[in-house]
């Protein structure tokens, strides 16, 4: 998905000058971008703008030449099923469901992956043995990996990852980044990762300092 951004800036707080706020830039399909930022600089706000949870910004964001402010709630719902996937900073898993149920909940919207494929993903991220454990019993790092698998279980042209590896050890990060970059390449999607500092050894198209 090609994203054109023209001088956007949140209207509910004034962020410090950066390479994102009030600047014009383009994020292209198949591109991988890193948003490097200190806490409180507006990473999650930027992701929320792109995910349609928040529209309190000035400026314009275009998805494939369409202004996203013109999208209705129904458009956004369709977009979230078919085109844009996200790993929230707060993960947003359902604690009362098992890891697998959490993933299936998302997957059943499009029936994009079979259970075997899902379990294969989980195995790759070393959480397959936790498939039938309730999400609330998992460590935060394990939850992060479940959330990453969940984000991959839908078609997407834009993948937003908000500090996805903050509680994962280095060995697992290598696994995770490998899986993510493979999937993104396969789907020719745009990848945006937000990070507090670490760049996780990914070959980025561009790094923005936020």
């Amino acid at each position: 998905m090609n994203i054109n951004i023209t001088s956007i800036i949140p209207t509910y707080f004034t962020p410090a000058s950066s390479e994102v706020w009030s600047k014009d830039f383009e994020l292209i399909a198949d591109g991988k971008y890193l948003m490097k930022a200190a806490s409180g600089s507006g990473k999650s706000s930027f992701f929320n703008f792109l995910y349609g949870l928040n529209n309190k910004y000035a400026g314009t964001i275009l998805f494939d030449a369409t202004d996203i402010s013109s999208y209705t709630e129904i458009d956004w719902t369709a977009l979230r099923r078919e085109k844009v996937s996200i790993v929230f900073q707060g993960l947003r898993l359902f604690p009362e469901l098992t890891a697998l149920e959490n993933i299936q909940l998302k997957n059943q919207l499009t029936n994009y992956k079979t259970e075997t494929e899902i379990l294969a993903y989980m195995k790759q991220l070393n959480v397959v043995e936790l498939a039938h454990k309730k999400a609330e019993t998992l460590s935060y790092g394990q939850q992060q990996r479940v959330a990453i698998v969940r984000a991959l279980c839908q078609p997407f042209e834009l993948l937003l990852l908000d500090e996805p590896f903050s509680h994962i050890d280095d060995a697992q990060i290598v696994n995770a980044t490998q899986l993510i970059t493979e999937e993104v390449a396969k789907r020719k999607a745009t990848l945006i990762i937000a990070s507090l500092g670490n760049s996780y050894d990914i070959d980025y198209t561009k790094t923005f300092l936020l």
């Binding site: 409180g40 706000s45 947003r92 299936q104």
Partner: protein, 397 residues
């Protein structure tokens, strides 16, 4: 899976409370509706405790005691007066004779009066007369029958008669006016508890007055009034200041009837209040069910579940509960119908099981109306909750 997820937060006790409050309100509505249908005949007849009350007024004897047209128009203009009707009397002599087999004929002088048909407390299609007809229906006071049965018949050993039998007695009326004399056959249509006079249809009296004594002017010496409450001080003040007389008994009965109406109003008011409160409680209950799942609902929506998909779970819950409540309420109305039936029979209210069909139709209408209302309310709540910028997710900067 979304249903299981959303239902996890809902407790059985909460649904039970939902169903109870809903049944209570709907039950009161249906029972009231069913009672209303069954007591329709009480409300619509004129000889009832609940309708408007009649008051018959007249002037003192010994003076010219006819009402002038000015006086009648003054009475008509009073706020408390709803309807005014004058008593018309025949301007000719009447001789009635009855011939019963095995008895010598009885013959008596009598009189005829008429009041407007809408004051008559007897509902019968036979209460009519057209020029040319030879047969006239008559209404007599119930007192007359009682006097005959318990007085005359008892002491002379004659047969007692009831209202059905009395219809069979053939009466011959001879009307002797100043210019003409005519004969008619008459029969007693009914006995009235309300009006103490011998009544014939107004059309008959007008016609005979005109043909038999065309030169005589008809005077109105008694007036019947339709008032909401005859014991109202305004009514009594007006009557006293004009020196009009009335029967104290009418006013006494009206006090009781007024009291009854007052109590009925209060009960109805409380019923409506309880119903409104119960619907409010149900709405609050739906809000609670949704609010408890606020976070889950938001997350589901932001994962790509549409509002309609989420709302459907709540719609199904409220339809089920509403359906059960309506069923309970309907059963309650049926039970009440058969419990109240003997009491209503005392009030001479005609009721049939057919009224349950109306109640059932009303229950279905209630179900549809409330289901639509609850659906719209749920949709609105979920829309508010998942609206852009209001989500708890946007609190992450």
């Amino acid at each position: 899976m979304i249903r299981t997820l959303l239902n996890k937060q809902i407790h059985f006790s909460q649904l039970l409370f939902f169903a109870l409050t809903s049944s209570l309100g709907l039950g009161i509505l249906l029972v009231a509706f069913q009672l209303f249908i069954d007591t329709q005949s009480l409300f619509s007849t004129s000889n009832d405790l609940l309708g408007n009350q009649n008051l018959i007024i007249y002037k003192d004897l010994g003076r010219n005691n006819a009402f002038t047209p000015e006086e009648i128009s003054t009475i008509t203009q009073q706020d408390f007066v709803k309807k005014v009707g004058g008593f018309t009397h025949g301007t000719y002599r009447v001789v009635a004779s009855v011939s019963i087999a095995n008895y010598s004929g009885i013959s008596t002088e009598m009189f005829l009066e008429a009041i407007p048909d809408n004051f008559i407390d007897i509902e019968s299609p036979e209460w009519k007369w057209k020029p040319g007809a030879k047969e006239v229906p008559i209404i007599i006071p119930k007192n007359y029958i009682n006097l005959y049965n318990f007085g005359y018949a008892a002491s002379t050993g004659m047969k007692q008669i009831d209202e059905n039998l009395i219809r069979e007695i053939p009466i011959e009326l001879t009307l002797i006016g100043s210019s003409k004399r005519e004969e008619y056959n008459a029969y007693i249509l009914a006995a009235s508890e309300k009006i103490n006079s011998i009544l014939v249809p107004e059309s008959f009296l007008k016609y005979t007055n005109q043909t038999l004594s065309p030169e005589k002017v008809n005077k109105v010496s008694r007036i019947i009034l339709d008032v909401t409450n005859p014991s109202d001080p305004n009514v009594l003040d007006f009557l006293n200041s004009n020196n009009y007389k009335y029967l104290k008994n009418d006013v006494q009965t009206s006090r009781i009837s007024y009291f009854l109406q007052l109590i009925l109003m209060i009960v109805l008011g409380i019923g409506i209040l309880i119903t409104v409160l119960s619907i409010t409680l149900v709405i609050t209950n739906i809000n609670l069910l949704i609010l408890k799942n606020k976070q889950t609902i938001c997350q589901l929506h932001f994962l790509g579940f549409s509002r309609a998909q989420i709302a459907k779970v709540y719609h199904q819950i409220s339809y089920k509960i509403l359906g059960i409540s309506i069923l309970i309420a309907f059963l309650l109305a049926v039970v009440c119908k058969f419990t109240f039936a003997p009491y209503l029979a005392i009030l001479q209210s005609e009721s049939s099981s057919f009224s349950l069909v109306y109640v059932f139709a009303f229950a279905i209408i209630l179900f549809v109306v409330l289901a639509i209302y609850y659906t719209k309310h749920t949709n609105r709540k979920i829309q508010q909750m998942t609206a852009i910028n209001t989500s708890l997710l946007t609190s992450e900067i």
